[in-house]
């Protein structure tokens, strides 16, 4: 029977996500990042043209959640693998999804050169300041003083060096078309992150070169904080070190309104 108050769908699973239940810990922002990418893929109708490259890290099984073609790279090598795919299939939408250990440590060479070449791929970079999957060792992005299982007394910059700001670093390269940092700690920032993901894909579709969205993320499990405390910690500690901002936006992108 028809009711007068017709049910209206206001929120549902994006078509670009599968029905598989995600394996991420409660409160982990990997799930949010997945969802945002999938929503944008739906909005741009690129699901059938998209090829994703999964990393080694907690998101190693990202391919179980995205309903598009996917390959799984060796640790850090996703940009090289994506390059191989994109060079053979230039009209497909190729993206990598990488953690901070994957992208900024073992995969530093591959990401820098992909950006330097202006490789027409989009990179979604999950910076949670830690190695999540291997249970909490220091990442190149771990903050000064931050305790991890391999910096048990806190990261001592004298011996362990300083954290790497990847968005700033890559934005210096001429091949980069769009490089920004966003955060996933509150609704406003999540909306901003989604727009950035859209612009990253737009960059690729327009052939404007390398695009990367760095997403500040949480890892409650290995930070030893509740999900709520984690969001707060991200805001209070990560954002001062990793400012949210646009570090490289190609001229042609500036007119796009999303």
């Amino acid at each position: 029977m028809e009711t007068t108050l017709a049910a209206q769908i206001v929120y549902q699973r994006p078509q670009s996500l599968t029905e598989a239940a995600m394996h991420y810990c409660p409160g982990c922002t990997h799930g949010i990042a997945h969802r945002l990418i999938a929503e944008v893929m739906d909005e741009m109708s690129i699901r059938e043209r998209a090829i994703g490259v999964a990393p080694v890290g907690c998101s190693v099984f990202a391919y179980n959640y995205f309903d598009c073609d996917f390959v799984e790279a060796a640790h850090g090598r996703a940009p090289a693998m994506a390059t191989g795919i994109k060079r053979l299939l230039p009209d497909r939408v190729v993206f990598t999804y990488q953690g901070d250990g994957d992208l900024a440590s073992i995969g530093m060479g591959e990401i820098v050169h992909a950006a330097g070449r202006g490789e027409n791929i989009s990179v979604f970079f999950i910076n949670n300041a830690i190695y999540g999957m291997t249970s909490g060792q220091m990442a190149p992005t771990t903050l000064p003083g931050q305790k991890t299982t391999s910096s048990p007394r806190g990261r001592d910059v004298e011996t362990m060096g300083y954290p790497l700001r990847m968005a700033e670093l890559l934005s210096n390269l001429d091949g980069a078309g769009y490089v920004v940092r966003r955060s996933l700690h509150d609704p406003k920032n999540i909306r901003m992150a989604k727009k950035a993901i859209r612009l990253a894909f737009e960059t690729q579709l327009r052939g404007l070169g390398f695009s990367m969205v760095e997403l500040l993320s949480t890892c409650s499990t290995n930070w030893g904080l509740s999900p709520l405390e984690s969001l707060k910690w991200l805001e209070e500690h990560m954002i001062p070190y990793y400012p949210i901002g646009d570090f490289k936006v190609a001229e042609a992108l500036k007119e796009i309104k999303v």
Binding site: D69, A73, R92
Partner: protein, 374 residues
């Protein structure tokens, strides 16, 4: 097509192009660089993918990605670069995507030198990357054979969804010989049903080397071994020379095999009945052919440009039933035919023990020959 004077590296590159190569990824290293340079010129001109990667690590992973699209793809390098590629090689094996890799082997270990060597036998034939996998390994002894084997490599790679190496040495890569190139084949128009090319109007596809449940990984390993069994049963290739009445047989591959052939001819002229078995597939190894020689010959001489890496595989077949001797040059040194001839003469005159270690005997004989003071 008529014969032309061709340099090995360029001949292999052009053969791959004519076999329908769609993508090449590589990094410069002597003595294979002309191959990459030929690709740099030809591939873009044909509208195909060429990329000089930032390292061999990147090159092999670009190749991995490109192979996932189902296209014909290739990389080439030389020993230190191949060492660096081992991670990606294992991933490619675990994902079961076809690729062709050319290794123009040079002297090692370490940076070594740029002279011809066969020191990569073990790292290629017996793995090098982690886990259980067996690539097909083809070893040419001339420019013409290098051309033919490159073309074959693509067909075998696709037939078995496996890695095929063409293991040449610096000699094959660098020398010029008259040879005939194959006609240009068109690029393929259909791609296999596992290829990741975008889920247009079909279910998504995933290519990965992860089987997180050991039960599934065991099944995968078992399947890989089944494919390997098929390869062993169907793809052994070799050339034999003067074996019909041979009393002694030399076993050598690539350049070492070719020099051994000259030596065998010289020995025949002296009345020593020597034959040559030249493995073309180092993997699968021509074990059945060696087995059939054991009951027929008085002795086997293994000649290599390394310290006896294939020798181990020969001994595994022979099992001490007939005397085996070894002669090797190492570190980029290439044997002269008369060195091998001297070994043949010695074998036909002396009583070679069935037991003992041929490598130890060789080291003793060989010590005075080495240029200690250079």
């Amino acid at each position: 097509m008529a014969k032309e004077l061709l340099k090995g590296n360029i001949a292999m590159a052009e053969a791959a192009i004519r076999a329908g190569l769609e993508g090449y990824f590589g990094y410069p290293i002597t003595p294979q660089t002309e191959l990459l340079e030929w690709m740099a010129e030809r591939m873009p001109a044909l509208g195909r993918a060429f990329l000089q990667a930032e390292s061999e690590v990147a090159a092999i992973n670009m190749l991995y990605g490109a192979a996932c699209t189902g296209a014909r793809v290739m990389t080439s390098s030389s020993s230190p670069g191949i060492s660096l590629m081992m991670e990606g090689i294992s991933y490619i094996a675990g994902t079961e995507v076809p690729v062709v890799i050319i290794d123009v082997v040079r002297g090692g270990p370490g940076l070594g030198n740029i002279a011809p060597s066969q020191g990569d036998y073990d790292q290629i034939v017996h793995g090098g990357g982690h886990g259980d996998y067996h690539p097909i390994v083809l070893a040419p002894a001339s420019v013409q054979e290098a051309i033919d084997l490159v073309v074959l490599a693509f067909d075998l790679a696709e037939k078995y969804r496996t890695i095929v190496f063409v293991m040449a040495d610096g000699n094959i890569g660098q020398m010029m010989e008259p040879a005939e190139l194959p006609p240009m084949r068109p690029i393929k128009s259909e791609y296999p049903d596992w290829a990741v090319r975008g889920a247009m109007g079909r279910e998504r596809r995933i290519l990965s080397s992860i089987y997180i449940d050991p039960k599934d990984e065991e099944v995968t390993n078992y399947r890989l071994m089944q494919v390997w069994n098929q390869i062993q049963a169907n793809e052994v290739r070799y050339r034999e020379y003067f074996l019909d009445d041979a009393e002694y047989v030399v076993i050598g591959f690539g350049t070492a095999g070719r020099i051994a052939l000259s030596a065998a001819r010289m020995a025949r002229a002296e009345g020593i009945k020597v034959g040559l078995l030249r493995p073309i597939t180092l993997s699968p190894f021509p074990a059945p052919q060696i087995e059939s020689l054991v009951s027929r010959v008085k002795g086997i001489l293994v000649v290599e440009m390394n310290a006896g890496q294939m020798l181990n595989d020969v001994q595994k077949v022979v099992k001490g039933r007939v005397p085996v001797e070894f002669y090797g040059r190492m570190g980029g040194m290439v044997p002269f035919p008369d060195e091998i001839l001297a070994e043949m003469r010695r074998m036909s005159q002396e009583v070679i023990p069935l037991d003992g270690d041929p490598r130890q005997r060789w080291m003793k004989r060989f010590a005075p020959v080495i240029h200690w003071n250079n």
